[in-house]
């Protein structure tokens, strides 16, 4: 195997983990945000149990992506975490509250108890999506970095119209993804009700997507530079458009799982556009992009470490995929409440 560009290989591995997280936990977050729209306790339990067996494992993709970043690109990990101190703290509290809400809500019968956790579950899911979006938006836009790779900007510099836009796009994306997932996993009256939520979600997503794309092309043309240089990459955008267009088509045909697959393809394409557009930067220095940006080459671990990591991934990832599939296979089909359900 040609290991000359091992940084690129490990960077791809990192983005694959991130895409895995967005696809898998994306629908958990979407279901979480939709949770309050259903008023009946029985329906809420069905929605909760649609993600019940898998949300924990889905979250692990983020944990492992974090580990992959720490190991492969310590400087990027360090700069990113210390620069986005507040968004990450908010993200972490969101993750804690979501876990608590899922685990605690059905353990007491009181109506107020369940309502409290339902609200927290929804809010936590929303906050997780928003803070992920803030980080993502700032990575596209760039942050102020000095020559020691340290963040020198202020907290307020992280919040501006563009990062809000990306943040809302992230919410819209997971909202749509979650709506499709929940339609796929339910049946009967609830299913029919949920089905009506999908189209508004798709429209909202497309609006956000179009706006974000326009804003990106106008204000951050560096994101499309590489596509100008290598037109073949334009195909990602084409595939993405077909995938998005296919979602309402499959929903109308009643092939919910194909709509879900399309939605997954959409997420992969979005992640690819982001990764390709920022390459080789991961953290762009807005003050001097050409010299101060953290690229996958100036911030990587040694080749020895990257080779070790690659070996770990080659052994580990097939195993991970195998039991992820096994678990989804065992819990396939429509959700039914049982004695062990949440």
């Amino acid at each position: 195997m040609n290991l000359e560009n091992i940084e690129f290989i490990w960077c791809s591995a990192f983005f694959i983990l991130l895409a895995g997280y967005a696809i898998l936990d994306g629908f958990d977050l979407g279901v979480g945000m939709l949770h309050l729209f259903s008023k009946k306790d029985h329906e809420r339990r069905i929605m909760l149990n649609a993600i019940g067996p898998v949300w924990d494992g889905n979250e692990v993709w983020l944990v492992t992506a974090g580990g992959a970043l720490f190991a492969g690109f310590p400087d990027i990990y360090a700069t990113l975490c210390s620069a986005f101190y507040e968004p990450i703290m908010v993200l972490l509290s969101g993750l804690i509250f979501r876990a608590a809400a899922i685990e605690f809500r059905s353990k007491q019968p009181m109506a107020w108890w369940r309502w409290m956790w339902d609200v927290l579950f929804s809010l936590a899911s929303l906050i997780i999506a928003l803070s992920l979006g803030i980080v993502l938006g700032n990575l596209i836009r760039g942050i102020e970095i000095n020559e020691h790779k340290e963040f020198v900007g202020s907290l307020s510099s992280l919040f501006n119209p563009y990062t809000y836009l990306v943040s809302i796009l992230t919410v819209a994306l997971f909202w749509m993804h979650g709506a499709i997932y929940i339609v796929m996993k339910t049946e009967g009256e609830l299913h029919d009700k949920l089905r009506k939520w999908v189209n508004p979600a798709i429209i909202f997503f497309i609006m956000c997507y179009a706006l974000t794309t326009m804003a990106t092309l106008i204000y951050f043309p560096h994101m499309s530079q590489i596509i100008q240089d290598r037109p073949i990459l334009f195909l990602i955008g084409v595939v993405d458009m077909f995938a998005i267009a296919n979602i309402p088509r499959e929903i109308n045909r009643g092939k919910d799982w194909l709509a879900f697959v399309s939605s997954c393809v959409n997420i992969v394409c979005l992640m690819a556009l982001f990764a390709v557009g920022s390459y080789p930067n991961v953290v762009r220095a807005i003050n001097d992009p050409d010299h101060l940006s953290l690229t996958i080459y100036n911030s990587a671990s040694s080749h020895t470490t990257l080779q070790i990591l690659l070996l770990i991934a080659i052994i580990g990832i097939p195993l991970v995929i195998a039991y992820t599939f096994a678990v989804y296979w065992i819990f396939k089909g429509k959700v039914k409440l049982e004695a062990t359900s949440y």
């Binding site: 979501r98 470490t305 770990i312 004695a339």
Partner: protein, 457 residues
């Protein structure tokens, strides 16, 4: 307060809270494997009931363990960015391995363990339980390896100078099998077994005291006592081995544990006492001559390095470490004594009538928790002033872009969130234990309460 103190405080707060849960997951994981294994072998439904009951408790500890664990992973970067840059090349690969090999295994099969009772056959279910238990143990392996590398670094070289200096891996296996990693791993995992064993012992003793679920309680108690007994014996061995490694590789830490201010041949062992750090001596203590030299080096007249060999500014906090270390050992002593008494009384068939012993067993759940916490406090505070022993100081590892105010606000947030989480955890656990392992209502569903909720809608 300065950034260093705050960052250390925050790390201590979040890691100590986190460290309540993973040991319970590891210990309960082992217990679950034993219970379900016995069920598969004997087909006695009692053991299935036990496995199902403890699975629910496992789920609760696991969820909080994961939620608080993610915090730890990102905290390296948020508060200790310079440290992360310095060690990422070495430390990161252990964390990545943990994610890939341990967390996915654990969380994937957890779904089947918790929700798969009616979806897969008993053998597949047992296999899933086994994998969850294995995953929990794997997660301990990688994080303890990473932590041990900070105590006794090996398999690396330092590249660059000044701000851009960092440790890079030379040999992955030398890093993994650094001098202290395997012994500390064994010590940690057995500590976790004790946490699991004493939780089930405590609950079983509670039921026996209340004369409820007697068959369930006796069978649970038997497993708990057996696991606990094996664990305390092994813990003595690994504890001794761990101290010997500390003696060789981190003499300052050992000297702080023992408040040994002056290098001595045939050093004595202080059983207890109070350290007077001003006059550099131990007061109100009793010591056994030459024992420390023997325990550390297998030689009654061996020289044990004292704190006088180290610049005073680099001394760890001796008065605190002296006590935390002793309390940890004392907890081991209490656990061993309790186990011996209980097993003896069980054989004499007087255990179930002896209320005081049972009450002690109920309270004993705290012993392994205290021991685990104090063990880590000793291990990590003993490393002071180094964040990576001999390579990088704690003060050098901080994030340069993070201010005291940011850390204070996150400390307040974590303190608030964790306090709520802890209260709820204890409340729900207590409800679960009071309710007992009855088959009809297994905690989450609310069959009897369905009407109540429908009326309220």
């Amino acid at each position: 307060m300065d950034v260093e103190t705050l960052a250390r405080f925050q790390f201590a707060l979040t890691i100590m809270f986190h460290y309540i849960y993973p040991p319970l997951s590891i210990g309960l994981g082992l217990v679950l494997v034993i219970m379900e294994g016995i069920y598969l072998k004997t087909k006695n439904p009692l053991y299935l009931q036990m496995a199902k009951f403890w699975t629910k408790v496992f789920a609760l500890t696991f969820a909080i363990g994961v939620a608080t664990g993610i915090v730890m992973e990102f905290e390296f970067g948020t508060n200790w960015a310079t440290y992360s840059r310095y060690v990422g090349d070495v430390f990161g690969s252990a964390l990545a391995a943990e994610g890939v090999f341990a967390f996915f295994l654990e969380s994937g099969f957890l779904a089947i363990l918790l929700f798969g009772w009616n979806k897969v056959g008993p053998k597949t279910h047992f296999f899933s339980t086994l994998m969850v238990c294995l995953g929990a143990h794997f997660s301990a392996i990688w994080i303890v390896v990473a932590n041990s590398w900070m105590q006794t670094p090996a398999g690396y070289h330092v590249v660059g100078e000044g701000l851009s200096a960092r440790a890079e891996i030379i040999s992955f296996w030398d890093m993994v099998f650094n001098p202290s990693s395997m012994v500390r791993l064994a010590h940690t995992v057995i500590g976790a077994w004790l946490a699991g064993a004493f939780l089930i012992i405590s609950v079983a003793a509670y039921y026996i005291l209340k004369n409820r679920h007697m068959d369930f309680a006796k069978a649970t108690l038997k497993i708990g006592l057996a696991v606990g007994m094996v664990a305390v014996i092994l813990q003595a061995v690994t504890g001794d081995a761990s101290a010997k490694i500390v003696a060789v590789h981190q003499p300052a830490k050992l000297a702080a544990f023992e408040a040994l201010y002056h290098t001595e041949k045939g050093a004595p062992m202080q059983l207890f006492g109070i350290v007077n750090s001003k006059e550099e001596k131990v007061e109100y203590g009793i010591k056994i001559p030459k024992l420390l030299s023997f325990l550390a080096f297998n030689d009654f007249s061996a020289e044990v390095k004292g704190l006088d060999q180290i610049p005073k500014s680099d001394w760890p906090n001796v008065p605190v470490l002296f006590q935390t270390y002793r309390l940890m050992v004392a907890m081991w002593g209490i656990m061993t004594l309790l186990l011996l008494i209980s097993i003896y009384m069980w054989r004499k068939q007087t255990l179930f009538a002896n209320k005081w012993t049972l009450r002690c067993l109920v309270a004993s759940v705290l012993c392994p928790q205290i021991a685990n916490q104090l063990g880590w406090v000793s291990a990590e505070m003993g490393r002071y002033p180094w964040i990576v022993q001999g390579l990088l100081r704690i003060s050098e590892g901080l994030s340069k872009s993070v201010t005291a105010n940011q850390i204070i606000s996150s400390i307040i947030m974590f303190a608030f969130v964790y306090f709520i989480l802890f209260v709820l955890f204890i409340f729900l656990l207590n409800e679960k234990f009071k309710h007992g392992p009855d088959e009809q209502d297994v905690w989450t569903p609310y069959y009897q309460l369905q009407h109540y909720l429908e009326e309220n809608e």
